[in-house]
């Protein structure tokens, strides 16, 4: 066990201590500041430790074993390249969210329901990443779910939140049970639960197949793969915004970690067809996720659904990595995996940023419904700027970071011709198409999100009198915005930072980027493709400022404010502006008619009638109706049938006993 491990562990213990402290402090006013202050402090320390590891490029793996958990195995912890990377993601998010919480937490109505669970949640996520035996892993995993559930239940008086919590925890334990089974397969009947043992063991193809399926169920349900995503848009918005940020931005990534750890590290190399499943799932998830998001008018729910899309993109990357790896194309595999991990980092950055923004809007206006907002860009300039950065980043637009990871994914897709399998040759480009589609729709989605919420004129007094939020929240948002920018302009360093991971998992890495000309990134060779976020940024900045300069210098700079022109129509009421629904109407018309059975109903009163005209748009969540509702129905049917047994007469119960006896005796007679 090394010093690093000791620091990490003590950090985690620190989190738990803070949780205990929070319980002790109860509802006292200082609690909020103390808890979030401490949490952000600890997260920063942990972050520093792991970042230092990367910077020093120390490849050494640190272990630690504690006499806890399963007695005859003990609790194993291990810090390798993969864990290091995900620890960065976790603690970066943790630090940001805690910083944000310092300000946002002041608006919390029930702090005593948040503070104890928040640090414990962080501890849980850190533990999952560090765990090195099945028991510790699952324990931390489920603990993480449990704590986040408690956080989702913070505002438990609203029926929807209770429902969200219920669906969430049931799905979570469904996932955990799937993981249990997976590890049961991996570790065998006599319980070799430590990851070393699992790594050492050889896993027959059928076993590998089952494990993959179970991991897709287990990790997938936590990450939010369609159709296991249903809990996500319910639970994430229900929690306080900084927790939503953690759940969406970080916890889903922990799920991705679990998938990578098992499939890439423990399982060895699965067969190529495994990648087909992952790819198709990823593609569908990406597109459906963003379509769902487009249909929303609740800002936080939109963001939550959009997380589903990004998970899809990540899984596309992972699927590609699997495909290439199975065919020994380790260079391409490294590229794909790097793309996926890069997107993991990016998404954790901008999704947290966006949830912070949504939280700021919520605390400033008390509204999550975009149709009741608008014009906030005037009232909350800083928030809206940060949010805009987030939107550009998540819409995969250069020169910000979202684009880089999607670009890398595309580059990986373009390696498909070398694949020997025909099905892959066909599927990979098709999935690439899906990826492109989802990227375009994402841009549409965030034009809508930003446009409806921040632009135009305020639709309600609440939006009209909003004030920009406290410095802590702003600090958190701007830090993350800056990080998005940095990762987008200097992607080379991130890629190099990821090389140890790919090296450890695939024994291959992308070419060193740091010394590429103009800090551009070159996946394979410059003749094939290259991209320089820095130059693109510089050029755009130069061109824009040049244009502006010349025009202001040599042409006119005069400016007059006047009423909006609007083809001469005087705008009646702000409510007459385009709403979330109307903005999405064309896309709904084109895409959702099939997928969500979208219907529109126009009720136009005859001339002379005084009643108002109505336009109603119906949407059905086909996945819920088709998959989950039937299950609920079935369960309650069986429950009703069986419930009769509660109301039998004693004689009937006796006859049950009698029958049991006779059957057993019969069995015995036949048996022996």
């Amino acid at each position: 066990m090394t010093q690093t491990m000791v620091i990490l562990m003590s950090g985690i213990v620190g989190f738990l201590a803070v949780a205990a402290l929070a319980i002790a402090l109860g509802r006292s006013g200082a609690a909020t500041r103390i808890v979030y202050g401490a949490s952000s402090g600890i997260s920063l320390v942990l972050l520093a430790v792991v970042v230092a590891r990367i910077v020093n490029g120390s490849p050494a793996i640190s272990f630690m074993t504690l006499p806890l958990g399963l007695p005859w195995i003990g609790a194993h912890f291990r810090l390798d390249a993969l864990a290091t990377f995900f620890l960065i993601v976790v603690n970066l998010g943790g630090a940001g969210a805690s910083l944000y919480g310092l300000g946002y937490g002041q608006h919390e109505t029930a702090p005593h329901r948040v503070l104890p669970f928040y640090p414990a949640f962080l501890a849980g996520m850190n533990l999952v990443v560090l765990a090195d035996d099945a028991f510790t892993f699952l324990l931390s995993w489920e603990f993480m779910s449990l704590m986040s559930w408690a956080l989702v239940m913070t505002h438990h008086r609203e029926q929807n939140n209770r429902r969200a919590g219920y669906v969430y925890l049931v799905m979570a334990s469904f996932g955990t049970l799937a993981l249990l089974l997976a590890f049961g397969l991996l570790s065998g009947a006599d319980g070799h639960y430590s990851f070393e043992a699992i790594r050492a063991g050889v896993h027959a193809p059928p076993v590998a197949a089952f494990v993959l399926a179970l991991m897709l169920l287990g990790a997938g349900s936590k990450a939010g793969i369609v159709p296991l995503h249903v809990w996500l848009p319910l639970a994430h918005p229900a929690a306080p915004s900084h927790v939503s940020a953690l759940m969406s931005g970080v916890m889903t990534k922990v799920a991705v970690y679990g998938f990578i750890r098992v499939i890439f590290d423990l399982l060895g190399d699965p067969a190529w067809w495994a990648s087909v499943i992952v790819l198709l799932l990823g593609g569908t998830t990406a597109v459906l996720g963003v379509l769902y998001a487009l249909m929303q008018h609740d800002l936080k729910r939109l963001l939550a659904y959009h997380t589903v899309e990004n998970i899809g993109i990540i899984f596309i990357g992972l699927g590609l990595a699997l495909a290439f790896n199975a065919n020994g194309m380790s260079v391409a595999a490294a590229l794909a995996l790097t793309a996926a991990l890069f997107h993991v980092l990016n998404h954790s950055l901008f999704k947290s940023l966006l949830f912070f923004g949504a939280g700021a809007v919520l605390s400033a206006t008390g509204e999550r419904d975009m149709d009741k907002l608008g014009g906030l860009i005037h009232r909350m300039p800083y928030t809206s700027f940060a949010f805009l950065v987030g939107c550009v980043a998540i819409s995969a637009l250069p020169p910000l970071n979202g684009f880089v990871s999607e670009w890398l994914t595309f580059q990986a897709v373009l390696q498909s011709p070398e694949l020997p399998q025909w099905s892959l040759k066909i599927i990979v480009p098709a999935v690439g198409g899906l990826l492109a589609l989802s990227a375009a729709l994402a841009a549409a989605c965030f034009v809508k999100a930003f446009g409806i919420t921040f632009l135009g004129r305020p639709r309600t007094p609440a939006a009209q009198h909003a004030q920009d939020v406290d410095p802590f929240s702003l600090a958190a948002m701007f830090t993350f915005a800056a990080l998005c920018f940095a990762a987008g302009v200097l992607p080379g360093f991130v890629i190099d930072g990821l090389s140890p991971v790919t090296l450890s998992l695939l024994a291959e890495r992308m070419p060193v980027q740091a010394n590429a000309a103009w800090l551009s990134i070159v996946p394979i060779a410059e003749s094939r493709s290259s991209y320089s976020g820095l130059l693109v940024f510089v050029f755009i900045a130069l061109a824009a400022s040049l244009a502006a300069y010349f025009i202001h210098r040599f042409a006119s700079r005069a400016l007059r404010r006047g009423p909006a022109w609007g083809c001469g129509f005087a705008e009646a009421t702000p409510m007459a502006q385009y709403t979330a629904g109307s903005f999405a109407q064309p896309i709904r018309h084109v895409f959702a008619t099939l997928i969500f059975c979208a219907r529109e109903e126009v009720d136009m009163p005859a001339p002379g009638e005084t009643r108002p005209a109505r336009f109603i748009a119906y949407l059905r969540d086909t996945i819920w109706d088709g998959l989950y509702a039937p299950v609920a129905v079935a369960v309650s049917y069986v429950a009703d049938r069986l419930n009769v047994l509660q109301f039998l007469t004693i004689r009937r119960y006796l006859s049950l006993v009698f029958l049991a006896l006779v059957t057993l005796l019969l069995v015995l007679t036949i048996w022996s």
């Binding site: 089974l181 009947a189 369960v635 039998l648 119960y653 006993v657």
Partner: protein
């Protein structure tokens, strides 16, 4: 070296009996409640002393070994905590006039007799004696279930009584058969009923006879374990009796019966030609688990809800032992301990909740975490723990059962997991209604004793993260014997 002035085993038995006699005489519930606590504490301490002194040599009647030492201590411990809980519970019952002081004398005396019966069942090294002890414990609980004399209570008691008696009969027949099997080998008389001899010579017994015997014993004692379809008495008995009794029923009596089943399973395991009881137990376990899981959805009475959850967990445990193997058996033993600690704690919470709200109807109880935080969160913790969520002990046992099963019998494991998920869904649904949402009903502060509940939770929490080595060693040894 035995430096104690007394023989712990004898103490564990004599103290409750003497206590019962004493309590029968003491008037005034305060005194008797305190006395009850003191007696239980003494019993517990003398049981604990079993850890320090070296174990008595197995005799004709008494036996202390790796298997039962843990359960004796657990039994007396829960008996002790329950007596504390019962103290504050009874006080409230007197106020509301559901019980009279005369009832209480009887109640406390019975309580100690029941403890005696259960302790005896654990320490007895003789199948006949064990039978007597289990039945004694059962009959006393029957009487206590009927305590409130309401229609429901009497009806529950009657049902319990009839079904219990049939169970008794089966168990006895099974015992006789075992004796018949042993007699040719061990000769007539007591020797043929002593555990140590039985186990030692089991390989020479007539296997076929053992099989029949086991069927009867499984059904006989299984009736008390509450395995479906023999479970019918359990929910009503839990729901209608005084809550301390519900706690003891779920926490201890089920364990006693299960302990008996385990003993006889050992016997069969020691005989190579006898049927492996695995399949029978696995089937009954799964049936109980899944059946109870579905039953949970339609429960309207909070105590009945957790009674069904007890059936569910007994199912899991029996399943684990049925699977056999070092891991599964270990898990089963661990699960027994964890379940009795957690479930009794839950009943403590439920008892106070029912008193505070003045109802047992789930529909009338809402938002407990708002009105009664300690009780509400206690309930949440309890449900979370019993549902097998980390970091509580049940998680470890369920982890071991599921993982070790799936590698051997995938289909069974999937059924098991299915049952667990269904049950979890139901429990979570209920606890969400109970503990969260707009508060409903009486919001007056409850004067309750939270200590026992939270002590139990603390223990379960610790066990979920760290198990003391000696315990592990004993369990592993027993797991080996269980085959």
């Amino acid at each position: 070296m035995n430096f104690l002035p007394f023989d712990p085993v004898a103490a564990v038995l004599i103290v409750p009996v003497g206590g019962a006699a004493l309590l029968a005489l003491v008037p005034g519930y305060r005194a008797s409640a305190r006395l009850n606590i003191v007696i239980s504490l003494t019993t517990f301490l003398s049981a604990v002393s079993l850890f320090v002194v070296d174990r008595p040599v197995p005799g004709t009647y008494m036996l202390v070994d790796d298997l039962n030492i843990v359960f004796i201590v657990l039994n007396t411990f829960v008996g002790f905590t329950t007596s504390i809980f019962s103290g504050s519970y009874i006080a409230h019952e007197l106020e509301t006039g559901r019980l009279t002081t005369t009832n209480l004398r009887f109640y406390h005396a019975m309580y100690q007799i029941m403890m005696f019966g259960m302790n005896l069942a654990f320490v007895s090294g003789n199948i006949g004696l064990m039978w007597v002890a289990v039945e004694l414990a059962t009959l006393t609980t029957v009487v206590m279930v009927g305590m409130y004399r309401t229609h429901e209570a009497l009806e529950a008691a009657w049902k319990y009584f009839i079904l219990g008696s049939v169970g008794i009969a089966f168990a006895l027949f099974g015992t006789i058969l075992v004796y018949m099997a042993a007699r040719p080998v061990l000769g007539e008389g007591q020797d043929a009923m002593v555990w140590t001899n039985l186990i030692a010579k089991a390989s020479a017994f007539d296997p076929a006879l053992l099989n029949v015997a086991f069927v009867f014993l499984l059904l006989g004692y299984g009736t008390k374990v509450g395995l479906a379809p023999l479970h019918a008495w359990l929910p009503d008995a839990h729901a209608e009796g005084p809550t301390p009794i519900s706690a003891v029923l779920s926490g201890l009596l089920l364990n006693v019966a299960l302990y008996a089943v385990l003993r006889f399973k050992m016997l069969l395991a020691a005989n190579p030609d006898a049927i492996t009881p695995g399949p029978l137990m696995v089937t009954m376990g799964l049936v109980s688990l899944i059946f109870a899981a579905f039953m949970l959805y339609r429960r309207r009475d909070i105590k009945r809800l957790f009674a069904y959850s007890s059936i569910e967990h007994m199912g899991i445990i029996v399943f684990a032992f049925g699977m056999g193997g070092a891991l599964a058996n270990f898990a089963g033993l661990l699960h027994m301990v964890m379940h009795s600690l957690t479930k009794s704690a839950i009943f403590y919470a439920v008892g106070h909740i029912a008193q505070a709200k003045g109802t047992q109807k789930i529909a009338d109880i809402r938002g407990l975490t708002v009105t009664h935080p300690a009780l509400g969160w206690g309930l949440v913790i309890g449900v979370v723990a019993i549902a097998g969520m980390p970091p509580f002990g049940v998680f470890m046992s369920e982890f071991l059962v599921v993982t070790s099963t799936f590698a051997r019998q995938p289909v069974l494991a999937i059924l098991l997991v299915f049952g667990l998920l269904v049950a979890f869904g139901a429990l979570l649904l209920r606890v969400t209604d109970l503990a969260f949402g707009e508060p409903q009903g009486n919001t007056a502060r409850a004067e309750a004793s939270y200590v026992p509940m939270y002590v139990h939770f603390a223990l379960v929490l610790i066990a979920g993260i760290y198990l003391p080595p000696p315990l592990v060693a004993w369990f592993q040894h027993v797991a080996g014997l269980l085959g």
